[in-house]
């Protein structure tokens, strides 16, 4: 009985602990843009670009979902007030590795290019814009273009390209001027295994359709409200409780039956 309760408590603690881990890190690139004309001419906005939930890892079934959205945060440079009302699109570039990147003469020669992706505002989070995606290990870059409405008193155009920063080599050759810092390139989740040899993880990766894949690690950080919401979280909390209740009842019945 005590073991069942301990197991339930441990399950809840693990789920809660995991929820606490899902905090947005901020290894992002940023650039500053000035309102070109109008009553607010000269005021500056800051545009920050990166991926949700840095560092980023490629998808690996049963281990990591690879869901790292491309995200943009826009704020007034002087006050840090969020700036909503931007109309943004992105061209997305993917190189599989640094050799492929180095061979390319332009971003358009990337291993994969997607153009005109809408970078939409996140409901309830002014100044926060995302384009959803599931990533693979490699080098990601984005050209962001569109307009930003500065509190109704000016329009700021943007057309700028930034690539992730790789530990394998310089990835800045296609970057537009004006960017400071960068976001990390996407790594193989196996790189952070500890211990390095983990047969359980290796097995998960090869057993497609296994039940454990259904609880793959989620990394989609942008969300409003409490993290303790949604049917998936409810199930994660509820199932251990239900298991504990079942064990309790079953053992109670069994003990009674043995007594008779």
């Amino acid at each position: 009985m005590t073991k069942a309760i301990m197991a339930a408590i441990l399950s809840i603690a693990l789920v809660s602990g995991y929820a606490a881990i899902l905090q947005p890190a901020f290894a992002h690139a940023h650039t500053t843009l000035a309102v070109p004309d109008g009553p607010a001419a000269g005021h500056e906005i800051q545009l920050v670009l990166g991926h949700t939930s840095e560092p980023t890892f490629g998808a690996k079934p049963g281990v990591h979902d690879g869901k790292h959205n491309m995200e943009v945060r826009i704020s007034d440079a002087a006050t840090s007030l969020p700036v909503s009302g931007a109309s943004l699109k992105a061209d997305k570039y993917y190189f599989k590795d640094i050799r492929s990147f180095n061979r390319a003469s332009s971003a358009e020669r990337a291993d994969e290019v997607v153009k005109g992706v809408t970078v939409g505002g996140v409901f309830g989070e002014p100044g926060h814009y995302v384009a959803r995606q599931v990533q693979k290990e490699g080098i990601y870059g984005y050209r962001v273009y569109g307009t930003i409405n500065y509190f109704g008193e000016g329009t700021v155009p943007i057309d700028s390209t930034i690539f992730c920063k790789s530990a394998d080599g310089d990835t800045t050759k296609f970057n537009s001027p004006g960017w400071t810092g960068s976001f990390g390139c996407t790594e193989d989740v196996n790189d952070i295994l500890f211990p390095k040899r983990n047969n359980d993880v290796t097995r998960i990766g090869t057993e497609s359709g296994s039940a454990i894949q259904q609880v793959a690690v989620g990394t989609d950080v942008p969300q409003t409200g409490s993290k303790a919401s949604g049917p998936a979280y409810g199930l994660l909390i509820g199932l251990p409780l239900a298991a504990a209740a079942g064990v309790f009842g079953w053992r109670s019945l069994k003990r009674k039956g043995d007594g008779q």
Binding site: A40, G234, G238, F248
Partner: protein, 212 residues
């Protein structure tokens, strides 16, 4: 009822409770179930200061709010004695960051919107945005205070009050300090006052959408 039936009922109740827990996923129903609660991680903060009966001597300072080290976004409301013609308050509302070090201090006069339809003859009602990115004032606000720069004592009347509502933390002075200094003593009497309700469109300030 047999013992087995009792245990079975207990089991069903426990399973039912667990199922409810699973469905509602941590939502707690208490006597506050009609309250929407906060969205995100910031608790809105409201500070109300009654001013009636107070007299602020010339050069006097009345601190109203301090969120240091965080600079915040919110709304300011004040009812206070004012000039009947210009509607400029006799006390000056300042905001910014007052640091232990003068070199880390930056305060400026808060741009105020005069609210004609809530004011009386000798007492004006004002609203202000904290911060106001379009009309000036300190861009990063941790502190709000009233200072009397008029050169004469100012006495507040019945109903006079200041109210500060903070909705969001924008950052921390520890990571984004001011790189220039401006002290209360550097300021002169008189807040900028905008009025959306008079016939003069030139004193509406920026950010107001005129309906055609």
């Amino acid at each position: 009822m047999t013992d087995n039936a009792k245990h079975l009922r207990l089991l069903l109740i426990a399973a039912g409770l667990a199922a409810i827990g699973a469905v509602y996923g941590g939502t707690v129903f208490a006597s506050h179930s009609f309250e929407a609660g906060v969205s995100g991680n910031t608790i809105p903060d409201n500070t109300h200061v009654r001013l009636d009966g107070l007299t602020l001597p010339a050069g006097g300072v009345l601190p109203l709010y301090d969120a240091s080290p965080n600079f915040v976004s919110g709304h300011f409301l004040m009812r206070a004695p004012c000039d009947p013609d210009t509607h400029v308050p006799y006390v000056t509302v300042i905001a910014g960051h007052v640091d232990e070090s003068a070199h880390g201090t930056y305060v400026d006069k808060m741009p105020l919107y005069y609210i004609l339809h809530a004011s009386t003859a000798d007492s004006c009602v004002y609203h202000a945005h904290m911060p106001d990115p379009l009309n000036g004032g300190a861009p990063k606000i941790t502190d709000v205070a009233l200072v009397n720069l008029s050169g004469e004592s100012v006495s507040f009347g019945p109903g006079d009050a200041a109210d500060i509502n903070v909705q969001r933390v924008l950052g921390s002075m520890s990571s984004a300090p001011y790189d220039e200094m401006k002290l209360p003593a550097d300021l002169e009497h008189g807040n900028p006052v905008f009025d959306l309700n008079d016939e003069n469109p030139d004193n509406d300030g920026l950010g107001f959408v005129h309906e055609e």
